[in-house]
Amino acid sequence: MALLEIRNVRRRFGDFTAVDNVSLSIEAGEFFTLLGPSGCGKTTLLRMIAGFDQPDEGEILLDGVSLAGTPPEHRPVHTVFQSYALFPHMTVAANIAFPLKMANRPADEIKSKVAEALEDVRLSEFAARYPHELSGGQRQRVAIARALVNHPKVLLLDEPLSALDAKLREQMQIELINLQKEVGITFVYVTHDQGEALALSHRIAVMSRGRVEQLDEPDKIYSFPRNRFVADFIGTCNLFDGKIEAAENGIGKLKVEGLGVVSLALAAEEAKAGNAGLLALRPEKVKIASDDQPGEGNCFQGVVRELLYLGDVTVYAVEIAGGVRVKALLANFGAGRTRFFEVGDTVTVAWAVDAGHFLHE
């Protein structure tokens, strides 16, 4: 039995359906992420788990017991808010002690638990400070310590790292992973940053317009996106609309308008002539070279139209004769040169037959 069960939950605001018949099972000890663009319903769903909002239909169960009718203050679920919401008139220690005081724990227990929590987030010397005297990262850690100190069954995190700069965010991500492993509490994390979701989670639920588009482990979400939305949202992806012309021995010929005929490894059920679908191809699987190499797999000649220099790699957009642009990712190593190709160069792009992935819409 899963720790947190969300069954057929629906939430409407007037005409707008924020959460549309979502069902999820979240296991104990899992780092579970709700990922999606703004307005996809992830925050609404989180608020319903916390108790600040009620589902119009469906139910939410914790340890098999429905949470309906239980107000937030009685749920063993705590939230780390996006703005941290630390009490400005209380010290760091008093902030962390707050949930324990609300649970009417004895004073000496509170003292020792607070000291322990401060050590866990490495803020022991800051116990007597006030929130306005702390940096963003430190406030972040106090917010997390406060929500974890009385061991809730589930910790909800609402985009907690969005206010931090890139470097600090990376550090906090690693800290969060370690903290979650150490404490073993189930985390339900909400973010719109797909890189963050891939880095932190055991499983990701990709959401769009109130529905779960795909629920899977990060590597499966990345390598085997189930539809156009997921393929496009996670990382960069080449997406080509095409129709299967012929299929034989597990290899299909996909006619892509503006590109040509692409050879693609297909599963048996997909390998039917006439099937229309999407070819999803990650740029790192596309090789780019200046010579006309007769290669294995698919080869197309084109001109570099755009490039995006990212320091360690460069992403090239190569325009093929038919008009379609193919994105190729190339590492920037090479003695003396920072880039291999310039805009306007004629190049050949190639990828293996099994590099791409066939999707239905």
């Binding site: 107000p71 009490f87 220690a93 707050f98």
Partner: protein, 291 residues
């Protein structure tokens, strides 16, 4: 140089029309009253400087004046507390209202100021007077329990009612200004961490509102302490406050030195109390003993 051009005129104004009169009053408190009121000449018939502590000793030895002072303090304090209790829910209501109602509600709070202060106080004479509907209703209820009818007007009670009525907006507005700025996420966080509505109020909302509470209390207590119009109109003989005594000394008895003494002592007491309250109610810091 330009700075002095800007601050100069107001400073000059304050010096001439505020500081100087205060100094005159301080000097007057050491002089003797004139034969027909006012002040006696600074130098008496023999050419000696006629200054003494006589007026101050009179204040200390004649206990009645201290009694009136104490009563004024009590009235002012009661007014402040009643205003706080009444204004807090109103301020919270306005702070939580949607934008369109908020402006209307604030207007309603300020509206009384559009009419004359004295007329509003006189209105209470009618409301509390023996012929009023309220009086008759109250006395009818009392008669049911076999008790004597009471006269609400011309009593300490009427003075407090008048004081609260007049000062209430001064408590509502600073409280509202403070409450309006509270981050609603703080209450969400408190609730999320286990606090019910009662605890959310006393542990988050009220401590954060203390600066507003103090500001409102200062705006009510200090004026209420020195008021004389309300107690004059509604108080009768039973509701005399120190403001009335000062007015009487300066305008009727025309014992200016003694009136000055009372004024100076009133100012000193108000400053003392206001300063003490400010120190006590500085933004509350809640800590926990840590290892």
């Amino acid at each position: 140089m330009a700075r002095w051009l800007v601050s100069g005129p107001p400073l000059l104004y304050l010096t001439i029309f505020f500081v100087l009169p205060c100094l005159i009053m301080v000097l007057a408190s050491f002089r003797s009253p004139g034969d027909y009121g006012g002040l006696a000449p600074l130098h008496d018939e023999n050419g000696n400087l006629d200054l003494s502590f006589d007026n101050y000793t009179r204040f200390v030895s004649d206990f009645i004046y201290a009694k009136v002072f104490l009563k004024s303090l009590t009235y002012a304090l009661t007014t402040t507390v009643v205003c706080l209790v009444m204004a807090y829910p109103v301020a919270m209501l306005i702070a939580h209202s949607s934008k369109k109602y908020r402006d209307l509600l604030l207007l309603l709070v300020i509206l009384p100021f559009w009419s004359n202060f004295l007329i509003r106080v006189y209105a209470w004479m009618i409301i509390l007077g023996p012929q009023s509907a309220l009086s008759r209703a109250v006395n009818a209820v009392l008669a049911l329990f076999g008790m004597q009818p009471v006269e609400m007007l011309f009593s300490g009670f009427a003075v407090i009612v008048g004081l609260v009525y007049v000062h209430l907006p001064f408590m509502v507005l600073p409280l509202y200004a403070n409450l309006e700025k509270h981050d609603p996420a703080l209450l969400d966080a408190a609730q999320d961490l286990g606090a019910n509505a009662w605890r959310r109020f006393w542990r988050v909302t009220f401590p954060l509102s203390l600066p507003g509470v103090f500001a409102g209390a200062a705006l009510v207590f200090i004026p209420a302490l020195g008021i004389f119009a309300v107690s004059d109109i509604l108080g009768g003989t039973g509701g005399i406050m120190i403001g009335n005594v000062i007015k009487q000394q300066l305008l009727e008895t025309r014992d200016w030195p003694f009136g000055s003494v009372l004024s100076i002592i009133l100012t000193a007491v108000a400053l003392l109390v206001a300063g003490g309250a400010a120190w006590v109610a500085r933004p509350k810091r809640e800590g926990v003993e840590h290892v």
